[in-house]
Amino acid sequence: MEVATSAAPTALETFRMETRAWLEANCPESQRQSVKSYTDMYWGGKNPVFNSDDQKVWFERMLEKNWTVPHWPKEYGGGGLSKEENKVLKEEMGRLGCRPPLYNFGISMLGPALLKFANDGQKDHFLNLITAGKLWWCQGYSEPGAGSDLANLQTSAEDKGDHYLVNGQKVWTSFADKSDWIFCLVRTDPEAPKHSGISFLLIDMSSEGVSTRPIKLLSGNSPFCETFFDNVKVPKENLVGKENAGWTIAKYLLTHEREMIGGVGDTEQKTPLHKFALDHVGLENDILADTILRGDVAKWEMDDAIFKMTISRTMDEVKAGQSLGASSSFFKYYATELNKQKLELQMSLAGTAGNQWEGEASDEGRLPRYFCRTKANSIEGGTSEVQLNIISKRILGLPSK
């Protein structure tokens, strides 16, 4: 099993060396630290807001290299990288700590669905806008009566010849108030069985009749909204796939959302939990001073390290561009439960100081606010229970009746 060391570097090794050199030369120092919250991220959009010059420079350099979405085809403004090259790029970005230059639901959720289901015109138009960071997208799935039972959605789109007339309400729409466009599930056939009357529609948020109302979260932030559609006219060309065939697209998109939440392909190097523990609790006789929490921290770190190996193994097993299908539910479930446990442990390790909600000393309650936010991890994108249902039925083949 000796690896030859004298041979000429492979194309992939050359790519790695060039990538490393380019990132080192081009990624500004401030963009090499992990993001603390969504406000540190660049989301793109019609009215872009950069929170620093470095952020702008980093985005523009990556855009010029077509590396905002490196693994998409070149014709849509992607980098055209192979699965292996993309892995190398992510590893090298992870090594330096480089932030992704652009965050957007267009990249992580809508794009894969468009690549698979949209017509050529739609792909050409929307995918290029996504890679260029020109549109901020939000997701219009959930409704007051359609959460876990998503297919129960009632927002209607009535066929009016050249357009659809959309009426109804979405809820929990993350960033609806900041977004330019929404990808939306609508009911086009109220008579059909509930899964068979749904269509997948793209709607311009500046259309007449669209309004949003922010909802405040436990953390005090309000990144999401209720979204209302009141006689909104949507051109028919904004329908993706066939009318009433939207459920398949909706589910496919969810597998990508779950992969993203599940950290698949995520190479960011996070500070180890035991460093946090040592900072807050310290050592006594060479071991963490709180011996009970020490066991909990070690258990968490072991589970986390091993879960990362599963991500690598899966990436090695799946073919390029292939969706993980039902196993995205495993990643979503496991990653979010791990993250919640981590914040539970950090709250324990921080003691009463970790309960401070305001003031400079606590960085305006960064820890407890984030702790609160993590509770949504196992709700958004489909709850943990829903993921376990999917694993039971789709992977284990357990019966429903």
């Binding site: 035991h274 050592l283 589970d303 193994r313 496991y334 229970e385 249902n389 039971s392 039925k393 357990l398």
Partner: protein, 370 residues
């Protein structure tokens, strides 16, 4: 290296599965137990394993081996974990071969490894002295008799102790720890077979000035023992992976088959979610086992860390899965007629072997300086 098997490794795995299903299923272990078989393993099966090359997988070609690597051996062990096959694979191949490769002199390797490869020589490691795994706390001692040595001490939980031809014993002299080879028929060796809950072989062995020769250099005992134990922990984790997967597969099959309330019990969400959670943990087990096996073959510095990760994770998961299996089988799972109970019993012995969950949790924390 990609965390997937090569084609050769996959083929070895599937041929092992075929062979074991036919020739060494759980029923064979039950028979050894019920017959109170003196050897505790089936020599015909062991001979066949050797003929198929399983005893030579990790032996270099220059000593008559196949040099196929630990990832390959791990596939065999995983399959024996599915069938709960009792064989000298752990004692002689995983431990014995590794000890000799890591610590033996050239002459010892040349003399012993080909014999192991042929299936003619059984080795047992006599290291443990207490019920808790403390491999470096050694009370056994040895003295020098010039060319040879004499070992004294009491060792417990010696796997395959009552069938081994030779022991490799850890002992100290003047603050130095060494490994010594003792013939099973040497004067001063007394062996008491202990019947364990998993019906696999173990023994307490007492050495009273038993004649011994050093395995390799004097004073390198701890290093060789630690390196070997790490490899053994990973190999055992591979075996435990097979046991976990088989217990899980049988449980899922039972959930689909057992009818209550007019439906298969697999309909009930109270069981479904627990099954789905086990599936997730098993996916993680697969990852850590293959990563750890590949690390041995690469000679990676991460082997000790991965050994603790693998042994801890498999210990915890096999415990979970074997407990849930019994619970989900209901009353039938409590009977000796139903095979699922054998998995529970094997799980508990495997958990204690080469350090349990807590041992490796603590070790992992220490390796990370906390």
């Amino acid at each position: 290296m990609a965390l997937v098997l090569t084609e050769e490794q996959s083929m070895l795995k599937s041929s092992a599965r075929e062979y074991l299903k036919e020739n060494a299923p759980v029923a064979a272990l039950r028979k050894l137990r019920d017959d109170k078989d003196e050897k505790g393993y089936d020599p015909t099966v062991w001979k066949a394993m050797a003929e198929m090359g399983w005893a030579s997988l990790t032996i270099p070609e220059s000593y008559g081996g196949l040099d196929f690597g630990y990832t390959g051996l791990g596939q065999i062990l995983e399959e024996t974990g599915r069938t709960l096959t009792a064989s000298p694979l752990v004692s002689t191949v995983l431990l014995g071969t590794t000890l000799i490769k890591q610590g033996g002199t050239e002459a010892q390797k040349a003399a012993l490894l080909p014999e192991i490869a042929e299936g003619n020589l059984l080795i047992a490691l006599a290291a443990e002295e207490t019920s808790a795994h403390k491999p470096t706390k050694i009370a056994a001692t040895y003295t020098s008799l010039g060319k040879t040595h004499a070992v004294s001490g009491k060792k417990v939980f010696v796997l395959d102790g009552h069938v081994a031809d030779k022991f490799i014993v850890s002992a100290t002299r003047d603050g130095k720890t060494s490994l010594l080879i003792v013939n099973a028929d040497a004067k001063g060796v007394s062996v008491e077979r202990t019947i364990m809950m998993d019906s696999r072989n173990a023994a307490n062995v007492t050495f009273d000035n038993a004649e011994a020769i050093l395995l390799g250099e004097e004073g390198n005992g701890i290093a060789v023992l630690e390196a070997t134990l790490d490899i053994a922990r990973i190999g055992l984790a591979a075996e435990m992976l097979g046991t976990t997967c088989e217990a899980f597969d049988r449980t899922i099959a039972y959930l689909k088959e057992r009818q209550q309330f007019g439906v298969p019990i697999g309909v009930f969400q109270g069981l479904q979610h627990r099954a789905a959670h086990m599936y997730c943990e098993i996916e993680n087990c697969k990852s850590v086992v293959i990563a750890a096996l590949q690390a041995i073959d690469k000679g990676s510095k991460k082997v000790p860390m991965l050994a603790s990760l693998a042994k801890a994770k498999l210990g915890k998961t096999l415990q979970l899965v074997s407990n849930e299996a019994i619970q989900m089988f209901g009353g039938i799972g409590m009977t000796d007629d139903e095979e699922i109970g054998f998995f529970l019993k094997r799980a508990r012995v495997a958990q204690q072997t080469f350090g349990d969950y807590n041992y490796h949790l603590d070790r992992y924390a220490k390796m990370n300086n906390y």
